[in-house]
């Protein structure tokens, strides 16, 4: 076991896959000579050179599309978006091309590619740089959406994403790149579509992913000291969703809180709530609580930012509302 930052775990995943498979390459802004805006590609250019670690101009639509075309022709591109906010410029390439090429061609095309980068609010970056896009991406059939919450998950999930033959939208978090955790020396994969129980409990199920997992685990500790045992579930893959894991937990606890740092309207949390409502209707003893960001663009001022984001206290309150409904 080694203690790695998520940044290092992601880096190790790419390094190993590039060593294993010469068709894997990385493309994006500042990924090569600069070692990545957030240093996730640290050292890879030095090791693999210009051919396989490629700096691009600031033209997200074009290099995303070139990645898609390269994937259609047999390569396995890893396209880094400096942040997912900028990937909006490539949404047509992602939604209308990556997501549909295989289907429209009746399976003649494969699109084995990963588009990855930091997603969601960081700190005091303002409205244009603080968007969580998993809900928009997961709305689109043809895309896979993954978002890890630990170094262990990050490495195993990214390796699976790189090996899959479908376009995988891999959402990381700028705030979490430095977060440390145990990662085995030996190779392992975390399959697409398989969630994880981050903490076992009996009273209330909390469903959360990426940044929100640590927030919820902290809340779980405090609640436990008050005798409330929550089960914390991390779906890890947003689409396809590990519905079974979620439903069976709720069938056990009969109560559910969902926590996300995205906007609430038609969000991933909303989707999960719908599925629980429809598939565990008779098990629910209280309405599902959903804590999302407040439904506004992100302001710069940190007092407002803190108000907007889910917090340990908000989670604790929601759990209690659910328990004492």
């Amino acid at each position: 076991m080694a203690l790695l930052q998520i940044r290092e775990a992601l880096n190790a995943a790419m390094k190993e896959e590039m060593e294993r498979d010469s068709t894997v390459f990385i493309m994006g802004e500042e990924v090569a000579q600069y070692n990545g805006a957030y240093k996730v590609t640290q050292g890879l250019w030095k090791q693999f050179g210009d051919k396989r670690v490629i700096d691009t101009p600031i033209t997200e639509a074009a290099f995303a599309g070139i990645g898609i075309g390269a994937a259609m022709k047999g390569l396995r591109p890893i396209v880094e978006m400096m942040t997912w906010n900028f990937a909006i410029l490539a949404f047509d390439q992602i939604m209308n091309h990556a997501a549909k090429a295989r289907y429209m061609s009746a399976g003649q095309f494969k699109v084995p590619m990963v588009i990855r980068g930091p997603n969601g609010p960081a700190h005091m970056l303002g409205a244009q740089h603080s968007q969580a896009l998993e809900s928009m991406l997961a709305h689109v059939p043809g895309l896979i959406v993954m978002t890890p919450s630990t170094p262990y998950d990050a490495k195993g999930m990214l390796k699976s994403a790189i090996r899959d033959n479908n376009p995988v939208m891999f959402l990381e978090s700028e705030m979490m790149y430095g977060q440390k955790g145990e990662v085995p020396e030996e190779e392992y994969l975390i399959p697409i579509g398989v969630g994880d129980i981050k903490r076992e409990g009996t009273d209330v199920t909390i469903i959360c992913w990426t940044k929100m997992v640590s927030v919820c685990l902290e809340a779980a500790e405090i609640l436990s000291s008050e005798g409330i045992e929550v089960e914390v579930i991390d779906p890890r893959t947003i689409r396809p969703l590990d519905e079974e894991l979620i439903i069976s937990s709720v069938q056990k606890t009969n109560r559910c809180v969902i926590v996300e740092d995205s906007w609430p309207f038609a969000s991933v949390g909303t989707e999960i709530a719908k599925r629980i409502h429809q598939n565990a209707f008779d098990y629910l003893d209280a309405p599902i609580e959903i804590i999302s960001s407040i439904d506004v663009p992100m302001p710069y001022a940190s007092n407002l930012e803190n108000e907007i984001l889910p917090s340990v206290q908000k989670v604790i309150d929601a759990v209690k509302r659910s328990l004492y409904y």
Binding site: P57, G65, I68, A70, M104, S105, G107, G142
Partner: protein, 346 residues
């Protein structure tokens, strides 16, 4: 502006309509058999689409249907310069490009009919023909959005050390889209073996190019990026071959991109629903007078490559193929419902 080393547009730049086609193909290594082949391909495309229009009228074909009639020389001349392992991309006006890459009339007509035997098994329709094995990569519906994909395939062949190339066709209106400019920059920056061919048929739907593009010469879009550029008479299959050959050779041998502009014209409306009232009869007639198929036919007869009778035989053979394709499409099954759930991760 840095002088282009590329002589093509000096060589073949010429007033359309004025200059008659030069029957000097031998000098360019075009064999008589190739001439016959190109004639057959153009005629096949023409007849196929004329029939498709009829079937559309009968309601056998749905959705949008964009006919290539009038522009055949561009794709056919270009297609002759390619190898089997090369790749072709175009937009939604894709029947012609598909047929010359070896998609059969049966597969094409069946696709239009939405049948399981179609080249995209009925999943794509008129705008989304594909035959990946034969290097026909479609067939795309978002105007100006496919050039990055095409560039990606050429990037891949270069990455894999192969010497195959990609041709990306697009409309002159599509050339206004921003992502096309981003792509030209990357293709030149990374020396991608691709040929972009802007099929300038002068209209994007009802909008004449001068109302959509403020510049004078489309090809300078490439020159800004230091890319070699060219322009040719797209109403002549031989001119098309000559121009594209230079560019394809450069891509294959030097791994360098080229931007070409073809002057051409579509005889029909933008799609089946467009009456095309934004153009004068005279304008359309002027182009029909330099019809690529008719003029090549004249040349073939003048140069005695084939006789009138032999040309008639070709015509008849094609008629039979087309009739068969409709019968085939009619009799083919619809896609099974299970097809809905295939080829997408659920």
């Amino acid at each position: 502006m840095n002088k282009s080393k590329f002589l093509l547009y000096l060589l073949y730049y010429g007033k359309l309509k004025k200059e008659k086609m030069k029957n000097n193909w031998q000098e360019f290594g075009i064999s008589n058999n190739q001439i016959i082949q190109m004639y057959k391909e153009m005629l096949l495309i023409r007849r196929f689409e004329e029939r498709a229009a009829q079937e559309y009228g009968k309601g056998k074909i749905g959705g949008f249907c964009h006919l290539y009639i009038g522009q055949e020389a561009v794709a056919v001349g270009a297609g002759q310069t390619l190898r089997e392992d090369d790749t072709v991309f175009t937009a939604y006006r894709d029947h012609g490009h598909a047929l010359l890459r070896g998609i059969t009339p049966n597969e094409a007509m069946a696709e239009l009919f939405g049948k399981y035997t179609g080249c995209s098994k009925g999943m794509g329709g008129s705008m989304h023909f594909y035959n990946v094995e034969k290097g026909f990569f479609g067939g795309w519906g978002i105007v100006g959005a496919h050039p990055p994909l095409a560039t990606g395939t050429a990037f891949a062949t270069k990455y894999l050390g192969k010497d195959s190339v990609t041709i990306c066709f697009l409309g002159e209106a599509a050339a206004n889209q921003g992502v096309f400019h981003e792509t030209l920059n990357l293709a030149q920056l990374w020396k991608i073996p691709i040929v972009f061919i802007i099929e300038n048929n002068h209209y994007g739907m009802g909008t004449e190019i001068s109302r959509a593009f403020s510049g004078k010469e489309l090809r300078y879009k490439g020159e800004v990026y230091g890319m070699e550029i060219g322009r040719f008479d797209g109403m002549s299959v031989v001119e098309s071959y000559k121009a594209v050959k230079i560019a394809v050779d450069r891509a294959r041998k030097e791994s360098l991109p080229t931007l070409l502009e073809a002057e051409t014209y579509r005889y029909r409306g933008h799609s089946m629903s467009d009456p095309g009232t934004y153009r004068t009869k005279e304008e359309v007639e002027n182009y029909k007078n330099i019809d690529p198929i008719e003029s090549l036919k004249k040349e073939i007869i003048e140069t005695k490559i084939l006789s009138e009778n032999e040309l008639e035989k070709i015509n008849d053979e094609i008629k039979i193929l087309i009739n068969q394709s409709v019968k085939f499409a009619e009799e083919s099954p619809e896609p099974p419902i299970e097809a809905l759930y295939q080829n997408v991760y659920l």
